[in-house]
């Protein structure tokens, strides 16, 4: 595996800022991350988050994001805040996904506390259908560190793909490290 140093300069990501409609200008985050990208996975260019897939995003993808807390979501007006407990943040993520009209037959299988590289966070396992009727399964980890909400998710077609790369995702999760944005 090659070690890739992935960082997102939110201050410089003009497009990102433009997308965060209303609610004021999002604050730049203090923390970035590093993560190992496994062999055979390719990065899809994006200045907002790390997005990886092995074959196709319609079959499987991993997405990792450091998001300013307080930043607007698309489908709920609720915001993640610094003092929130993991369960409260998890609920907002669930509300955001459940409120998305493109997510059908959404079902939360697991929602519980999780430790992500020493940080108290949450873990959600859920399934849903897209508009075309394909069924997907997502494992979503999230935690708050000061002004930054980190989230790592693995989504794959439920039937034939989810189990295939869940191990790879866990290895990625284990390689995940928070770093100060200043150092990057």
């Amino acid at each position: 595996m090659k070690k890739v140093f992935w960082l997102i300069f939110l201050l410089g990501a003009a497009g990102f800022m433009a997308c965060a409609h209303t609610g004021g200008v999002p604050q730049p985050v203090s923390y970035d991350f590093t993560i190992d990208i496994p062999e055979g996975w390719r990065k899809i260019d994006n200045n907002r988050y790390l997005f990886l897939t092995k074959e196709s995003p319609f079959l499987q993808y991993v997405m990792v994001q450091n998001r300013p807390i307080g930043m607007m979501f698309r489908h709920t007006k609720k915001k993640i805040q610094k003092e929130m407990m993991p369960e409260e943040a998890a609920q907002i993520i669930i509300d955001e996904i459940a409120s998305d009209e493109n997510i059908l037959n959404f079902s939360v299988l697991v929602n519980g506390p999780a430790e992500i590289q020493g940080y108290d966070g949450f873990r959600i396992l859920f399934t849903y259908n897209d508009k075309e009727g394909s069924r997907f399964k997502t494992l979503y980890y999230g935690f708050i560190k000061e002004d930054t909400f980190f989230n790592l998710r693995y989504t794959a077609a439920e039937q034939n793909y989810f189990q295939q790369d869940i191990g790879t995702f866990h290895r990625m999760l284990n390689s995940f490290q928070v770093v100060s944005a200043e150092k990057t």
Partner: protein, 402 residues
Amino acid sequence: MGGYERSGNNRWITTSWNPYLAGLALGCATPSEPMASPKSLALQSRADEQMLWQKAEEEQRAFESNGLIYPDQALEDYLNQIAVKLQPQPADLKIRVKVIKNTRLNAFAYPNGMIYIHSGLLARMDNEAQLAAVLGHEITHCTHRHALRAFRKFKDQPALLRAVEHTLSKNRSLQDMARFMGISGAITAVTGHIRELETEADRVGIELMFRAGYDPREALFIFDQMVGEIEQEELEEPLFGNHPTVRQRVVHLKKLIDAQYPQKGSETLNREIFLAKLARLFLDNVELDIRQGKFQTARSGVEKHLRIKPDDSRAYFLLGEIYRQRLQEGDMLKALTYYDRAVSLDPNFAAPHKAIGLIHYKEGRRALARKFFESCIQLAPDSPDKAYIQGYLKQCTLSEEG
């Protein structure tokens, strides 16, 4: 009305009783053209209509298999009774009404008589006459074959298609609507042609509700209420808000009603029946509003429910949820008051126990928090959030020991 010919098995998704989509339509260039009569349409080939019906049926199947339908047979029966009451006789089209679990202020119809009304729109209504206004409008779309008329107009004017594509590409909410309703529904909605159809649906719908004994003024009431709410909640509803042409539409309707439907004072409202039938939907829709962070709308929904069922513990729990999740100054105290009320009304209702525990926990009152977390676990030992609660209890123990 009444004298139009219908063409058997012809259907297509039609437009919606939806001021914001109508507003959008009004924003487009509208070629002036006399409205085609359904009679003349019946003389044309029906292949296109049949194709459209087929597509519409696919979209209906998708709706119904994707968990979007609100499951309440008694409510559906009630809505269908009102539709039958409104439909002109003799009826050669079977009107059916279903509810979609969705907070949008919307309703739409397929030409085969299938009408979908969003829970968000139902939740804003106060009486049966307002429901009749929406259903009368949608029934008119079906009986007057508006979808086919829109499609034929649209098909013959590629410029309109380009205008629609341009509008869709610029408006995120419309993109959402297009995905939700099916692209056909959204496209139909953004054609300038729709303006004529909406006007006809308004006019005939008012006549239908009047003939069924309802007060047509209630149509204006719900329209105004929706405009107000969209402004209040700053909802992103495409080109609705203060769109002047939408306001013009209301003014036009008001003129029509004042001129042709003098108030008698004996019109049917059926407020009590309506509220009783929709009581559960009001709270279910409140849950959706809370999910979306529309706290003021959610609060109005709970208050409406409490006027019907003043001792409903779930309603008080949801009021507590609104304040706990809104996170404004003083909200936690209000939330606690409502959770306490919920517990006093139903001591076995686990959810408010946990919510009270959470507030105490976050504010450092760990002993109190422990008490409520324990009672929650006792009441709901298989609760899906059990792992979180066990974590809080562990922390409470550590705090006490420390």
